[in-house]
Each structure stands twice: as structure tokens, then as C-alpha cells.
Amino acid sequence: MITLDHASRWYGQVIGINDVTCQITTGITALLGPNGAGKSTLMRLVTGQLRPTTGRVTVFDRKPFANPAVFRKLGYCPEIEASYDDMTGREFVTMLAALGGVGSNRLKDQVAETLQQVGMAENAERKIGGYSKGMRQRIKLAQCIVHDPDVLILDEPLNGLDPVGRRDMAAILTRLAASGKCILVSSHILYEVEALTHNILLIHRGRLLAQGNVHQIRSLIDAHPHRISITAEDPRRLAHHLLDLPYVLSVRFDAARAGWLEIETRSPEAFYGHFPDLVAAANCPISSFESPDNNLEAVFRYLVGE
């Protein structure tokens, strides 16, 4: 449905995306990358707001830029919080449904159904200016799906949603995907998209670094040396026990930080599995435990060889 063929986009000297080639078909695909990675640029190319500087972007084999034939089958939920704040939610969705080609005979019912679907029926008569961030996300989703498009492009739709909102949003998207829609969702948080899909495009500094299953991405995290910082009452005694574990590669202390130590492991999952028992057996209480590598930034640094 969506094809990028060596697509690049530059803003003057600044890179948006660089030589991206990929295909996105039915189901949910997550576009994962840190802020500034080029996710929004890619989405603006797909939604025909921008043209590629070089390469080709097509949706249903057509160039999307200012192309109503493509927009008939496309729904876009932008990242921006800005909206028509003086309109009520219902007016906003109704206007965009009308612009999306919903006929006057179906307009009222379709808007009502969509508002119900996204959980905004009760707040539909309130002005958007008074909405919370979560409500704005829901109303943006409503305008995106109200005209029943085949392709949905959602830029950071989970931003600002509370856990219930995330669960609801995931349920809606999963249902839409099951009905044969092609859904591209961007995010900069790995665990967010893990709940949505296993199909991931990993983008960093405008380049597509990896494409595939979320488990493969997870294994990339787990494959590179993984640091874990611990603060304990007796760090040297704890280190002694930790070094007995075969997958602990090194232990480091910091003279400036009392009780602090950092270990490096190639098997974080195994380490996390054994660590509670080890602490209990060694009778060595700990007060903090964190991993600076257990995030997307670390994967990107690893993948680009930094």
C-alpha cells in the first residue's frame, strides 16, 4: 500500500529522511525512533504534505502530494496539539468528515458512531480548547478514521494518554488492523509500540536502521553489552557475588558515589532473573537499580556504532 523507494527529504542543509526504502502493508506498523529521527517527515511524505527531494513515495501506486485520489483512502492524525479550539469535538469531526467525502445522508450517523468508537461521545459538545491532552488525541483519532480510510497514518497517537487511554487506543487500532486497514503509528517509546504491534521500522537521524519484528529489535538490545547500575549497602560484597555469575562481564565502582557499582552483561534477561535470589542469598540490601541502556537511544547508539 505504501512504498518508499530510496526516498530522501532535506530541509535546506538539514536532513529529514535519507535514502529510505520500505514497504508498508496491511496491519499495524510502528515507526520507532527518538525525537528528531525523521518520523514526522516520513509521515508528511506519505500523507502528501511534502515531496521527496530524491527517490519516490507512493500510496496505492500514486504519488500522494496534493492528490485527492490518495486522500480519499487516507486518514492522518498529526502529532500537533493545535486544533480548531473554538469548535466542539463534534463540529470538528463533522467538518473533516464532510471534507473527507462522507455524504450528507450519512454524515451525522457516521460522526456519532466514530465519536462513540473513540470514547468521545460524552464530551463531543465541549469546545476542543477545553480538552485534556488525552481527549485531543481521541478527537484527532476520530477525525482520522471518520471517513473510513484504508490507510491510517498516526503521528505519536499515544502521547499524553493515560494507561486506560493507551489501552483503549491500542484496542481501536488493533480492531481497525484486523479489518484490513494499513496503519502506520509513530512513537519514540519502545514499550508503547510493543503493546500494539510486532512489526517495526526503526529510524534514526533520517535513516532506516532496521525493519522487522519487535523481538528482533529486543534481541538487538539484549545482544550488546548492557549496563546496570546498582546502589547497595555493601557494593564490594555484592560485586564478589555478582562476579560468580558467568554472564557478568565486568564490575565498576565510582569513588565519588558511595554504594554505587555498575555491571556489564551480555544477558540482561538472565541477569534480571537471578538477581533477586542473589541479593537475598548474599544478604546484601540494595537501594536502587536501573539500566541506562534499557531504552531506545541505547539501541540506536549501538546500531550506528557509537
Binding site: 530541509y11 504534505q49 515531496r51 485527492p68 500537533i80 493545535a82 464532510a98 471534507l99
Partner: protein, 261 residues
């Protein structure tokens, strides 16, 4: 149906408190000045025609019309771009030219309505309800939409390709348009206002109302331009500017300034 919704939403935006208040102030301003001038006890031999012409020419045509055209016509594009709401409109299956023209139509309605009310109130205050028929009000009401279209189209086009069209528009409106018509010879023919004044002349007043004229810097000697030429030139400018606006809007990428930065 999309056109109706676009027009409705654009009109609704124009009656927001801030914009509506500004429009009301601009609509009553000429009448208030005329009222103050009439109440001035030192002026006994007031020439009503001259007073009306001076105020209509300087304030309604030279100020209210031009200012509203700059603000409302450039706002058609910039408000959506800077508000970042343009992505909602440009990703819907409505040709871009229709989006532009629908929103421009709303801006035109607002400009024409405000300037017409300003003219009507000015004529009422100057002549009084009984003598309204003696005024040039009917002619001015007929020409104001032409002026709104001409200035509006021009500023609309500017807004489709400039990132800060309001500033440029204001400089053009109150720099170029105020200065060029004062130039000698044929130079004044490169100003829109000269052609509008050929269609709706507002000659300089004589007698006491001349004081008012000197106070209002924007009253000018009528240019030697025929009605026919003025009609042709204004029509050509409207068509050209609208055409260029449509072409530019249909092909340009629109991103808010901070996104470009």
C-alpha cells in the same frame, strides 16, 4: 458540501471575539470621526459632500479596506499554517484551490460587510438619514467589493508564497499604496488605489473641510484614468493574482516556521 463546511468554519473564525471587535471598531471609526467633526462648533459652513468624500476616501478606502484586506486575506493561509491546522485540510480529498477559494470567500464577505457598514454609518452621520440619497453611498457600496477583491486577491497571493505576509502586506498597503499615488506623472498608475479612486472618486474638499483633508494624509488628487481602463486593470489584477494564488497554493509545501527551522 465540503465547500459549505469550509466557508462556514472560516466565517465562524472571523466572528471570534478579537476579530469581531477589531472589525466593529474599524466599522464605526470613520463615523465617530465624522461625528466629532460635525459636533465641532467652530465649523458652520460645512460642505457635506466634501466631508463625506474626504473621510470615505481616506478612512474607508484608504485605511479600513486596505487594512482588513491585508489582515483577512493573508490570514486565509497563514492562520492555518502557523496554527498548524493546515495539515488537516491538505490531507483531505478536496482540491487545494477549492480550499483556498472557500476560505477567501469568507474573508471577502467579512471585508465587504465591514467596509460597507463603515460607509453606511459614515454617510448616516455626515448627511443624516433624511439626506442619505444625496450622498455617493450607493456608488461607494458598489465599488467597495471591487476593492476588496483586488486587494484581497493580491494579499492572498502574497500569503501563498511568503512566510511573513502580514508584515509585507502592511508595508505594501501603507507604504507603497500611500506613497505611489502621490508620485507625479504615470508612476501613480502602478498603485491599485488610483484605479479604485477612478471608479469611486473622492475629490479633495474645499472650505473648512480642507482642514480635515490636510489632517488626513491619504487624500489625493484624482488620477486621469478612465472608468473603462480602471475596470480592465482591476479585473486583470484580480484574475492574475487569484490565478497565481491558486497555482502557488496547489504546488507549495506548507509547514509552520518552527517546523522549517
Amino acid at each position: 458540501m465540503p465547500d459549505l463546511y469550509l466557508l462556514k468554519s472560516a466565517l465562524r473564525d472571523l466572528v471570534r471575539v478579537k476579530k469581531l471587535s477589531a472589525a466593529i471598531i474599524l466599522a464605526v471609526l470613520p463615523a465617530l470621526i465624522a461625528l466629532a467633526w460635525r459636533l465641532d462648533g467652530t465649523r458652520h459652513d460645512v460642505d457635506l459632500h466634501a466631508a463625506y468624500d474626504a473621510l470615505e476616501g481616506a478612512l474607508v478606502y484608504g485605511f479600513v479596506l486596505v487594512l482588513l484586506s491585508v489582515v483577512f486575506a493573508t490570514g486565509v493561509v497563514t492562520q492555518e499554517v502557523e496554527g498548524k491546522t493546515i495539515s488537516y485540510l491538505l490531507t483531505r480529498p478536496v482540491p487545494r484551490w477549492r480550499i483556498l477559494l472557500d476560505k477567501f470567500a469568507a474573508a471577502l464577505i467579512a471585508i465587504i460587510l465591514t467596509t460597507s457598514v463603515a460607509s453606511l454609518l459614515l454617510a448616516l452621520v455626515t448627511y443624516g438619514p433624511a439626506d442619505l440619497g444625496k450622498s455617493h453611498l450607493a456608488r461607494d457600496l458598489a465599488i467597495l467589493p471591487v476593492g476588496a477583491l483586488a486587494y484581497g486577491s493580491l494579499f492572498l497571493w502574497i500569503a501563498t508564497f511568503l512566510n511573513r505576509p502580514l508584515l509585507i502586506g502592511l508595508l505594501f498597503a501603507f507604504g507603497w499604496e500611500a506613497w505611489v499615488p502621490s508620485l507625479p506623472g504615470s508612476f501613480q498608475k502602478i498603485s491599485l488605489m488610483v484605479y479604485l479612486r477612478a471608479l469611486a472618486p473622492h475629490p479633495q474638499p474645499t472650505g473648512e473641510s480642507a482642514d480635515l483633508n490636510s489632517f488626513l494624509a491619504n487624500t489625493l488628487a484624482p488620477a486621469a484614468i478612465s472608468h473603462t481602463l480602471a475596470h480592465w486593470v482591476l479585473t486583470a489584477i484580480i484574475l492574475l493574482a487569484l490565478g497565481l494564488a491558486i497555482v502557488t497554493f496547489s504546488h507549495r509545501e506548507y509547514l509552520a516556521r518552527e517546523d522549517l527551522d
